[in-house]
Symmetry: C2
Subunit: 117 residues, 2 copies
């Protein structure tokens, strides 16, 4: 599994930094954002160090499928499946990506307050 020794998410995944974990499997780890932007704010993160969405190809099919498929399960566990949620995946400076390790934000618990864009 690729790892970047300087990456904060790689350190969390390796257990070298603490996190409030809500899910894990062989491909993914999910934990709460330390600066939540909504009542529920979970980060769904591949164990593998992929820098951003530009590096995702169809060779990552199993990972991509798992990323989408775990969302309803985590949403149900967090009690937000029925009322709904927003998924956000930021790439690069225009996307305001902060950590250069692919991750998906799962936001819910209230109606999203900000428009897109």
């Amino acid at each position: 599994m690729d790892r970047d020794p300087e990456c904060i998410f790689c350190k969390i995944i390796a257990g070298e930094l603490p996190s409030a974990q809500v899910y894990e499997d062989d491909l993914l780890v999910a934990f709460r954002d330390i600066r939540p932007a909504a009542p529920v704010h979970v980060l769904i993160v591949p164990r593998q160090h992929i820098p951003d969405n530009n590096a995702v190809t169809e060779a990552d099919a199993e990972l991509s499928a798992r990323l989408f498929a775990v969302v309803p399960r985590i949403a149900a566990a967090e009690g937000i499946a029925r009322d709904g949620y927003r998924l956000i995946l930021n790439t690069g400076p225009h996307g305001r990506q902060e950590i250069p390790h692919l991750h998906m934000h799962l936001l819910g618990g209230q109606r999203m307050q900000h428009p897109m864009g």
Copy 2:
């Protein structure tokens, strides 16, 4: 391929309503949002009528993989790959989902102006 006769996206995909299409393959169609929230605002939409992310499972692996894998290609074609972009997938009322047919928003062309949540 499942279709909902009342669904505006199913009608666009069938060519019964116009759209400014930027990409298509056997699983997906991508076209410009008619109310863009950023200089580039493309909707990436499965041909199959899946109502929302809660209905996506690992049985949709090929579709999920394709959804992620086409993003860098469309971003490159739109000239936003290097500066970056934001992907948003809204589910249900809290997510402010407007069309009940699974779709991913690809937003770019400027730094995102709104925070998440």
